[in-house]
Point group: C3
Chain length 399, copies 3
């Protein structure tokens, strides 16, 4: 049986009905079947595209993107996913928009959605804000749909919030699944999600949180390592703990990077800002206290600088399983001697893992496309089968 | 007979030939048949989309958008309309463009139009400029087409100028037609287009002008209300007066908001800047007199503040027909206690009309798409029939 | 035989295999057959579009654009070309992107290319940089493709670099070919590529270099005229000399505009900055020496002002062949009394040639589309034949 048929058969066995006409906020709000369906559809879409079979399921329609933070990878991934399915991206550039002072989210959300099939939002800067904003948008368009204002219910994809970065972590996981030859091979494997030093300030917590919130689902031995004071949101740590217990895995927190790297099968060393500091910053922004923000930034950079030894060096890598753990990063990484004097990772380590890192990134467009497809179609397996049967060329082929 | 067939039959009885290969500048330059055709095609396109039938009539082609003022609603409406018909929007961002100092409009217009099927322009800031600029663009591409420079004649849609806001007012009217169960039910109905207080400065005149220029066509009792000094362009008031006389309606101007609201079937309370002040501002900008502009702004805000009692309060609403007039607004509204301390409308009034207001806005993408379709096809009824017959899914359907 | 069939037959006789999966950097890196193929495919695509036959060869896919300099003409030409073939343009706006300080070109290039079929880059500001950057991008995606990171190899189109402006010059040449009734009629014809005075500063050298690097291929008598000190890159002058010798043409450099215009069949008067000054500027930018940049700008404007007599006046035009040389320009031109007090060309000369100038520009979208088509298809003649046979309407036609 072809790989594609296998994927479709697998999908048929998964319960995905609740994803239909629904949003994707946090991975831990989804069932195992639903996460599995995302990976399966992502692989199936990739298989079709590789065989030059068009996966356009929309003949018109908009994918609205709203980025409240600069982005290249996620922006292009969302644009690629929409294009792959036939949606045209329309960016809500808040700078160019006439969004009145005090205009409600409810109003803006409806005004941009008359012909929107999907909305992708990145809003990761402020603790307690991003995810809440996404929910407000989703509730608004749900109400608009029910009240007959919108002809279709645009569904939402969380392109990174203050809590989770589901499209990134689902792509990370799909990469790991491929590298280890299947999800079943991950049971018991050790992954070290570790803080690492960076000379820059205020990196979001959504990646480490997303990683511990997802990989504890897979029966893995998940270790979160960071210096004292770099704790993640306690609610997410709680989720990780609970899931590990339920799935026969482990979740440990340590302040020792070496302990985390010891015999690890996978390492994910990455900088982030302390949760408490991010909360403080959110409040300072709300108060418009620019002096306070500057002072905080200085303080945080000084705090970071106390932990320059938290780096993914060649020496650290030797501690891992056979010295060959799979190195993960969401990119761009702070590479020592390349993008900064001292950073998250040695240049030689990064170089050795360049190809796998880029492949890791290559799953993101497919993961997003899979989320959209599962949100918009009640019977995704049938859609995939019919796309194959339709056999429309993606690129015109000379016969 | 289905609603769609009714619409197509109605369209067949309307004379639309002069719209073909022509532009849409002002509603009062169009015949009754032509306005009717826009509403009819808008309804028909909506009907097709609701039945998941694709209305893509372009297999490639560009819709050029040029916004000289911030915009969310109109920008998304134009993008939606183009997408619905199969055109890709290409934004002429004057900031990112190499438009030489002194470069003629004629040159720019031709340079962006080699593969443009439609051009949408919003240029509403300066009295005597916006509409004139649109004509210059249209004349330029007409000349380019005749001289063999352009292979097709891109047609223009006025997305708001200094004189009219036809896509907004045509959407407003289509909403009203639906609410009152048909255009024939509007005869004799009273609509109050009233100034209302806003703490912001320099709102365009195009909406009140567009409303009196359009609704006087429908045999309605149109009352324009504003404080002294807030007159609209005299030419447009003249048009309204003449049309009312011809169509068996009325057009009155009053300085008493209560008089306007008294027994009104529809109210449209909205802030705008005095015509004379807008003219003065245009000249100050032309002279680059920034001190003068600041002084004028201060003066206008003070003048506005004298009229804080011009607000659509619950008390005012009680004066209308059975206390239940249909409340219209182009959005965003200045809502008292929500978007500002004192504004155009009470929060409780706005909330009560939220759904109808959003529905009002939902007609705009279809109105724009209808204008484009009528500009590009000689036999629009046949196009609609053939689109239905083609029956191409908008969203892939699992069979 | 129809024009289209002639073009396809001609294309069949040209060797284009090396263009497949390859990039387009400089015209002089391409064979005569390859340049000929670009013009032939451009004409054929235009012929199909004029007959309302869709030339969409991609059912999904992205065309990435990266403009490091403001642009209207080239930006719209690239967007038009992509749209014509079915690619959606995704702009890499470096301002809105999260491109880390020190992030490698290799990484960015791969991250934006997961679903990119073509990349268009304009980077013309710094000597020794633009073309080198394009090669780095092309090498990066080539490596990404070979390493299995990218599923397809995005090919590159140079939309203007520091050395050449191939899409402009190929469009210029196609215009000339049409005006003279065929490439064979250009042998021995004299073209004057002349510097002309402009009050602006630092115009790129890529147009004059592109013109002498291309037109010397056509057996023409190419004269490069400029004041002393306005030399172009010596390597390109060398290329022009060598090609002229090989192709039975001539390449002369003169400091006398009149000598260049004397009996010229074609004139291309245009301002550019001296190569030595551009090199100096590049270094000053690299050093961040803003005082030095200001001083250099002042110096260059003063130097320009010494040569106000270098203008394409009516008097100068009288020197040309029968006083009727074809006037070329890449636009926008600095027109005396229109866009500036004293500039490159008299208003009356410009006006007389407006239509041909706009037609010259109209070839650019087709030239870019032809480059893309030749880069993506092994058998372009078959593709064209099958597009004609498919006969898909570009604009829906009422039957």
């Amino acid at each position: 049986m072809s790989n594609f048929k296998n994927l479709v058969e697998k999908l048929k066995g998964l319960k995905t009905q609740d994803m239909f006409m629904n949003d994707f906020f946090l991975t831990w709000e989804k069932t195992d079947d639903e996460l599995n369906a995302v990976w399966t559809v992502a692989d199936a879409l990739r298989d079709l595209r590789q065989r030059n079979i068009s996966t356009k399921v929309f003949d018109s329609g908009l994918g609205i993107s709203l980025f409240r933070d600069n982005s290249t990878r996620t922006r292009f991934s969302f644009a690629s996913a929409c294009n792959l399915l036939g949606l045209e991206v329309q960016d809500l550039d808040e700078g160019k928009s006439q969004i009145a002072h005090g205009e409600t989210v409810r109003e803006t959300a409806n005004m941009i959605s008359f012909m929107a099939d999907v909305i992708g939002i990145r809003d990761d800067m402020y603790i307690g804000k991003g995810n809440a904003y996404m929910h407000e948008v989703a509730d608004s368009v749900e109400a608009g749909y029910k009240d007959g204002v919108l002809e279709q219910r645009p569904t939402l994809v969380n392109l990174q919030c203050d809590i989770d970065h589901p499209t990134q972590c689902m792509a990370d996981a799909l990469h790991v699944i491929h590298e280890f030859g299947g999800i079943e091979n991950l049971k018991g494997k050790k992954i070290a999600m570790s803080w690492a030093y960076s000379p820059s300030y205020g990196k979001p917590l959504s990646v480490p949180q997303g990683v511990i919130g997802l990989f504890t689902r897979l029966g893995m031995d998940v270790v979160l390592a960071h210096p004292e004071g770099y704790e993640v949101m306690p609610e997410v740590a709680e989720v990780a703990k609970k899931q590990a217990a339920e799935c026969g895995g482990k979740f440990t927190v340590t302040n020792d990077m070496k302990e985390a790297f010891k015999d690890a099968d996978i390492v994910y060393p990455k900088s982030w800002a302390p949760f408490a500091a991010m909360e403080k910053r959110t409040n300072l922004y709300a108060e418009g206290d620019s002096e306070g923000i500057k002072a905080l930034e200085k303080e945080l950079l000084a705090q970071n600088a106390n932990h320059k030894d938290w780096a993914c060096t060649e020496e650290m890598m030797k501690l891992t399983k056979d010295g060959k753990a799979l190195y993960l990063h969401c990119l761009p990484a702070d590479i020592t001697g390349v993008s900064c004097k001292e950073g998250e990772v040695d240049a030689s380590v990064f170089d050795r893992y360049r190809d796998p890192l880029y492949k890791e990134a290559s799953f993101k467009p497919y993961v997003i496309a899979a989320m959209i497809l599962l949100e918009k179609f009640k019977d995704p397996a049938k859609v995939l089968e019919q796309l194959e049967a339709r056999g429309q060329d993606r690129i015109f082929s000379e016969k």
